[in-house]
């Protein structure tokens, strides 16, 4: 491999890895916060991402809705849907047995697999990029696929907004306070149950958005929540539970190494990623940004 080829390969790995990382982060950050805030093992988090994906693809292909409004609709709809589920089911198990949480959310995954198959059939839903996002963007040095570039830009904007919001906005400060010390936050008068619902809705909405944006990276099919569960859990656990920035670093690591290995050593598939995760957690059992 010549130097030019090596550079070109590295650039495409970085580009596609970054796009994958953005999707993983958008989907998983909500999971990390709900884990940190409520200690709730929500395996069904991927269901919200999957629903977002289905809403975007079917609004676009069946109703002819443009891409951006469809994305917005997906985020809003999953956020609202998640509030209903949170009020009806999740709330009962806060602070409860871990096994119960695992079972209930696993049950929700099973139900989602069947329900989605009933409505959309077993085949993956393709996403057709709108005309202004098909084709390539020429950056002078080389050109990149427009759809993925849009994904990266969108992701970066959302991540910045999220971090600024959590850093500066009143609600963000309350969320961080509750993650750091729940009892203290309650004692100073923060309405934690309301905060839980809000955070849950925000996290699920972001997941729905991530599922829609990343529909060509993580194919939208009935077993979405089951197939990708391990990715979401890796991002959260390697990042450190309850952390906001940790999962970002973890998503970067996972997205870029996964893309790299699949590009350079396709015959090994995702094998290395799993082995790497085990080694990383052997070194830091609480994740990169986990608190002791």
């Amino acid at each position: 491999m010549s130097v030019d080829e090596a550079i070109s390969a590295a650039v495409s790995i970085a580009f596609h890895g970054l796009a994958f990382a953005m999707v993983l982060y958008l989907i998983s950050v909500g999971l990390s916060v709900t884990m940190g805030l409520m200690g709730f093992v929500n395996l069904a988090h991927g269901v919200f991402a999957m629903l977002g994906g289905y809403i975007v693809t079917s609004l676009m292909s069946r109703a002819g809705v443009p891409f951006v409004p469809a994305l917005t609709a997906a985020a809003v709809a999953t956020a609202i849907g998640s509030v209903v589920v949170e009020r009806l089911l999740y709330r009962r198990l806060y602070g409860g047995d871990e096994l119960d949480q695992v079972l209930m959310t696993m049950g929700l995954i099973f139900m989602s697999v069947a329900a989605v198959t009933y409505f959309w059939g077993p085949n993956p839903q393709p996403i057709r990029p709108p005309s202004w996002l098909s084709g390539e963007v020429d950056l002078g040095v080389r050109s990149f696929p427009a759809f993925r570039s849009f994904l990266i830009l969108c992701g970066a904007a959302l991540v910045t907004a999220l971090w600024l919001g959590l850093e500066r906005a009143r609600v963000g400060i309350r969320i961080r306070a509750a993650v750091d010390n729940l009892r203290m936050a309650q004692s100073v008068g923060i309405n934690t149950p309301g905060l839980f619902t809000l955070t849950f809705a925000l996290g699920s909405g972001l997941a729905g958005l991530g599922g829609g944006l990343g529909a060509d990276l993580l194919a939208i099919s009935p077993s979405y929540a089951l197939d990708n569960l391990v990715y979401f859990l890796i991002v959260v656990a390697v990042g450190g539970l309850g952390s906001i920035r940790g999962p970002f670093l973890a998503a970067m690591l996972l997205g870029i190494t996964d893309t790299g290995f699949k590009y350079l050593l396709p015959e090994l598939g995702a094998f290395f990623i799993y082995a790497l995760t085990m080694v990383l957690l052997l070194w830091r059992p609480r994740g990169l940004f986990g608190r002791a």
Binding site: L103, F110, M111, P122, M278, P285
Partner: protein, 331 residues
């Protein structure tokens, strides 16, 4: 014979406690019920023997999961890793010219226990979601390995061409499943005896202690980490046995043996019966598998909807499963 006298007086002093332990060990007449049922089913339902053999092997798998989940309190999503390892070990042996069933079964158990030990060393260092994730990663890692090493495992198509020899050179695995059923029943019975002994031993009691209050067990000096690793390894061995049993009796191993669905369904089977109760597996597995056999003819995908709904309902309304309900009714 002074020592004997001493021992006797020692026994006298702690009479109450030792009696309680002895009572625990003693067989209750009701404990014969699953075995009587299994024998009656063998005589009365000859056309269901293949399903029966599957149920018996799955009971063993659920029993092994219960050791980890119900007794040691380790919530795992990756128990299929050991089930699949046992199945693939027995399967690959039988497909490559060594079809002797008993040694294949033992090889499956040993390989699974080794995987359990090695992964337990890493996984059991953490708790909660991280532990859960790592158990899942171990299973996914093996799933990916089996998928990639298709020259050995058959990959996506599954392992084919298994030749399992007659047991002891005498009992051929027949089409009607007579041999398979009896084979599974005997293996399950032996394993059950071992598990029963294990959970009633002081080791088993200390596991319950770890589940109920880790800090206190640390405080009284129990080697918590070592005990958890030991039970994880033992449980992996039983799970491997169960996998090898299914592989040998169905003469097939596929990637589904390592899939997340199976980890999820074994949890639900245990929950239906009751976790940490030794007999939960004997109730939950037959209920689940017979219902699945009845309903999945309609449409296997929608079966998952109802089972998911059941999981949610059991958690919200009926904690402790069937045995928990019975306990509550009797209380």
């Amino acid at each position: 014979m002074a020592t004997e006298g001493l021992v006797r007086t020692g026994l006298k002093a702690g009479d109450g406690a030792i009696d309680a332990f002895a009572r625990r060990h003693r067989f209750h007449p009701l404990e014969a019920l699953p075995w009587v049922t299994a024998l009656v089913a063998y005589i009365l339902l000859p056309s269901y023997l293949p399903l029966g053999a599957q149920i018996l092997a799955t009971v063993l798998f659920a029993l092994s999961a219960d050791l980890v989940l119900g007794y040691a309190g380790i919530v795992t999503l990756g128990h299929t890793a050991f089930f699949g390892t046992g199945a693939y070990t027995a399967g690959i042996l039988a497909a490559n010219g060594w079809g002797e069933p008993i040694s294949g079964l033992l090889a499956g158990a040993v390989m699974a226990a080794l995987v359990g030990f090695a992964s337990g060393l890493v996984v059991l260092r953490t708790t909660g979601l991280t532990l859960l994730m790592q158990t899942l990663v171990v299973a996914t890692l093996l799933h990916e390995a089996a998928n990639r090493a298709s020259s050995m495992t058959g990959g996506d198509d599954g392992l084919q061409g298994m030749q399992v020899w007659p047991i002891f050179g005498l009992f051929r695995f027949d089409l009607f499943g007579h041999t398979a059923y009896v084979y599974c029943l005997i293996v399950l019975f032996l394993c059950w005896l071992a598990v029963r002994r294990l959970v009633h031993s002081s080791f088993g009691r200390s596991l319950t202690g770890i589940r109920e209050n880790v800090l206190r067990m640390h405080a009284i000096g129990a080697p918590v980490r070592r005990r958890r690793l030991v039970i994880y390894t033992i449980s992996a061995g039983f799970a491997g046995t169960a996998g090898a049993l299914i592989a040998q009796t169905t003469q097939f191993v596929g990637l589904g043996f390592l899939g997340l669905e199976r980890s999820g369904t074994v949890l639900i089977m245990l929950i239906i019966g009751g976790v940490g109760r030794l007999y939960g597996a004997f109730i939950g597995v037959p209920l689940y598998m017979i219902a699945q056999d009845r309903f999945s003819e309609i449409e296997p995908v929608y079966w998952y909807f109802w089972i998911g709904l059941l999981m949610v309902a059991v958690v919200v309304f009926a904690r402790g499963g069937v045995l928990g309900l019975i306990e509550r009714l009797r209380a």
